[in-house]
Amino acid sequence: MGLALKEEFFDEPSCEHNGAAKEKKACKTAVPGSSTGGCALDGAYIVLSPIKDALNIVHAPINCLGNSYNQRTSKAEKGKNYYMYGFTTAINENDLIFGSEEKLRQGIIYTNDRYKPKGIFVYNTCVPALTGEDIEGVSKELSVKLKIPVVPVLSQGFSGNKNLGNKIAGDALFTHLIGKKEPKIDLMGEFNINLIGEYNIKGELFLVKKALKSIGINVLSTITGDSTVEEIMYSHKAELNVVICSKALVYLARKMKEKFGIPYIEESFFGMTSTNKAITDIVNAIGNMELIKKTKDYIKIMTKKTEEKTYEYKKFLTGKKVLLYTGGVKSWSMISALNDLGLKVIATGIKKSTDEDKLRIIKEFDKNGNIIMLDNGNPVNLIKIARENNADIILAGGRNQYTAIKSLIPFLDVNQERLQPYVSYEGIECMAKIIYSEIKSPLFKLLKESIG
């Protein structure tokens, strides 16, 4: 009844966090009195809300949705903006006493009648999970009645962090949508892949798709940037899953491999080396000789083009020092992107990284030189490391923006609040330009001279 979480979520054979310390369930704990990331609801909402013809109803008191909706930057190519609307049952005191299943039921029916979505995600949260409301029952009943998928998402926040929420969302897609429809024949290309964990932040998906299209690869489904419910339902027809910068959704890829036999690879599109590698890995996995040859030529052309475009920036950026503090896969995938631009990474955050991630940092970046591994994201510590090592810029998530700029250290947001797309070939140029402008800005010098 909502409370029961699959043990499987905490036992990911393909995740390195499992390995040595199985008993500590590494991804689950947070220290009271610290500032942590989001909860399971947050993580699930991030994954599912970009689906542009679905609605998201959060069954909760006002705070879970009311305090923070309409903040994601997932772009949709066309269609209504209802997917970004905030829907909540706003559970009140009366509901708590008398139960709110009926309220939820009526709420779902009302939104369905009014907006005619292709699917509805219903999120469970702490309070109804604690009082034991049967969200799964209501969803099942209404799926039949309304003739659209009404998907229960068991994302009560006390179950765990954002990462767990990503998995819960992946599980909801796997259980309720994937494999339930067949694609129309004209939607299939010669080579069909899915992108998993790509949310089209600042239109990044469009850039990745553009590169893949140039070599003749069809993105059948994206989970979930700029996607539709139907597209996710027929995603099982792809021949390869490409998981982008997400450990949490490897869970989904593994489930799809088990059930539909779709192999998966994990890639990143940050920087030229990564982009070239990702595209090469994809075509190698597909294994068509002609495609592989075509891709080699494409990469050669794009590499040359991008190098020309970033030449001036690179000249300035070479040898400049970066402190990188971001999560998981990005702890190493970004290093490659920064090295491509001549930047030297002096430290990288590894708080959310797996042993595999850490090993890659040590192994793959010997040309970068020694990298400090930051296990402690405490802002005071970040500033100390940045100052001691004369960092020219801090690249991190939005929560560290004020840590950096209040200390008069240049800053760039590389997480979901980023102001520009940074992936694929066009993204490299964007990133070069913006790091260049930030480090070069006269402002920091002026303020240092003027303060105190």
Binding site: L3, L5, K28, T29, A30, P32, G33, S34, S35, T36, G37, G38, C39, A40, D42, A60, P61, I62, N63, C64, L65, G66, N67, S68, N70, Q71, N81, M84, Y85, G86, F87, T88, T89, A90, N92, E93, D95, L96, K103, Q106, G107, Y110, C126, V127, L130, Q156, G157, F158, G160, N161, P379, V380, I383, G398, R399, Y402, A404, K406, L447, I451
Partner: protein
């Protein structure tokens, strides 16, 4: 047709205007100096609020969580709360730890207030310095932003009284103060921008009064580069040292419709004469306020404010043409709805629709609203012809769909910067609002 405060019967909020009481309490605590907010709940409770507040104020927001997990949710969260408080103090050495509860912790039914009382007694017995722990009960399923803010305010006052009241009479503080300045306690509503706080401070200063603002978001979230660089706690705000001065005050000033119900309570807790204003917006309300200050201090209204007054009258004249025949919808929290309505009704704007967070009788009649409801932003849909919406960033869906301008005010404003520099109170504030509105309504 006047349709007063219809509480539409429905089962779902679509793009809510309302936010939670824990968020309101958090905002109050952020107006205390060297403070940290500790939210007792799952990690998301703190994280969602922190993200929104950071985007709204464009400042570091010191909110942390007790990180209640499954075990705590079922078996009780006491250990999480206590270790949360201790860890915050160890790491950040704040003067204040503002604790809020959540839907989760209140549903669970634990006696949070009792746990904190016990903890404080334990700390007092140890007789070593510790932060002031102020607790506001904020179940998310009850009330909203304004009530949470007020709960935190009353909790702080009660704490100050407890420290200061011995044998039924108030102890006067022994601190040496600038003799020529009388202090006055100022209670502002949560709708005040940091700049509103600063404007009010300056005005009181001009009347030779030393304001003790409870809370003071002007000194904490105005957006200033502190020479100490990055700080883990609030960089400014109401100073713990000033708490005892509350009882030396000349009088209390309470501003804001949402604080109205607490007037008697605050008067009782402080034992001081209390003046209440539902808002400080528009010509008449500003006049009343300046007249009171003049009367209470025996000081003539400074020339600079007389000049501002005449500029407001002129701005009204310049701007009023652009309101002619235009219909405006306001979707704002109760304080800002009341404040802006006061200004708009003076200039003769047509207030077609009002949406707010709490039913208050009589506002629609006072300001001539055609329709005023408690509800969500979705009431903006299908309300007929409109020329402008005044609301927070979330109303942009409706403004875009209708193809009309959105004047961003209230909370949250997350898609533009500079809100902390704007102010809408007193003569200058009214000028700001009518000019900003007129420019949005201005069509060639």
């Amino acid at each position: 047709m006047v349709n007063s405060m219809v509480n539409r019967l429905k089962n779902i909020e679509i793009n809510p205007l309302k936010t939670s009481s824990s968020l309101g309490a958090a905002v109050f605590f952020l107006g205390l100096k060297n403070a940290v907010v500790l939210m007792h709940g799952a990690v998301g409770c703190a994280s969602f609020d922190k993200v929104t507040l950071t985007k709204h104020f464009r400042e570091n927001i010191p909110i942390v969580t007790t990180a209640l997990n499954e075990t705590g949710a079922i078996l009780g969260g006491k250990d999480f709360l206590i270790s949360g408080i201790n860890n915050v103090y160890e790491k950040m050495k704040p003067d204040f730890i503002g604790v809020t509860s959540s839907g989760l912790t209140e549903t669970q039914g634990e006696d949070i207030s009792g746990i904190i009382k016990e903890f404080k007694n334990f700390k007092n017995a140890q007789n070593i310095p510790f932060a002031k722990v102020i607790y506001a009960s904020t179940p998310d399923y009850k009330d909203g932003f304004e009530e949470g803010y007020l709960a935190a305010m009353l909790s702080l006052l009660t704490e100050a009284v407890g420290k200061n009241k011995e044998g039924g009479s108030y102890k006067k503080s022994n601190r040496t103060k600038a003799k020529n300045k009388k202090s006055v306690n100022v209670f502002c509503p949560p709708s005040f921008t940091p700049q509103d706080f600063l404007e009010l401070r300056e005005t009181l200063d001009d009347f030779n009064l030393k304001p003790i603002m409870i809370p003071d978001l002007g000194l904490s979230l105005d957006g200033h580069l502190d020479e100490r660089g990055y700080l883990q706690t609030t960089p400014g705000g109401l100073d713990a040292k000033d708490l005892t001065d509350i009882f030396d005050g000349e009088f209390n000033l309470i501003i804001g419709l949402s604080l109205k119900d607490a007037v008697k309570n605050i008067e009782g807790l402080t034992g001081l004469k209390t003046y209440y204003f539902s808002n400080l917006c528009g010509l008449k309300n500003s006049d009343d306020f300046f007249n009171l200050l003049s009367k209470a201090t025996g000081k003539e209204i400074p020339e600079k404010y007389k000049r501002r007054r005449s500029r407001l009258m002129d701005a009204y004249l310049d701007a009023h043409f652009y309101f002619s025949g235009k219909e405006i919808a306001l979707a704002l929290g109760i304080d800002l709805l009341d404040s802006f309505s006061a200004i708009y009704s003076e200039i003769g704007a047509n207030l077609k629709l009002g949406i707010t967070t709490k039913a208050i009788d009589g506002i629609d009649i006072e300001y001539g609203f055609l329709n005023l409801s408690e509800g969500d932003l979705d009431l903006l849909d299908n309300c007929g012809n409109l020329d402008m919406i005044v609301s927070n960033s979330n109303a942009k869906f409706y403004a875009e769909n209708l193809g009309i301008p959105l004047l961003k005010a209230g909370f949250p404003i997350i898609d533009e910067i500079g809100h902390n520099y704007k102010h809408y109170i007193l003569y200058d504030g009214a000028i700001n609002l009518v000019i900003e509105s007129a420019n949005l309504l201005f069509t060639e």
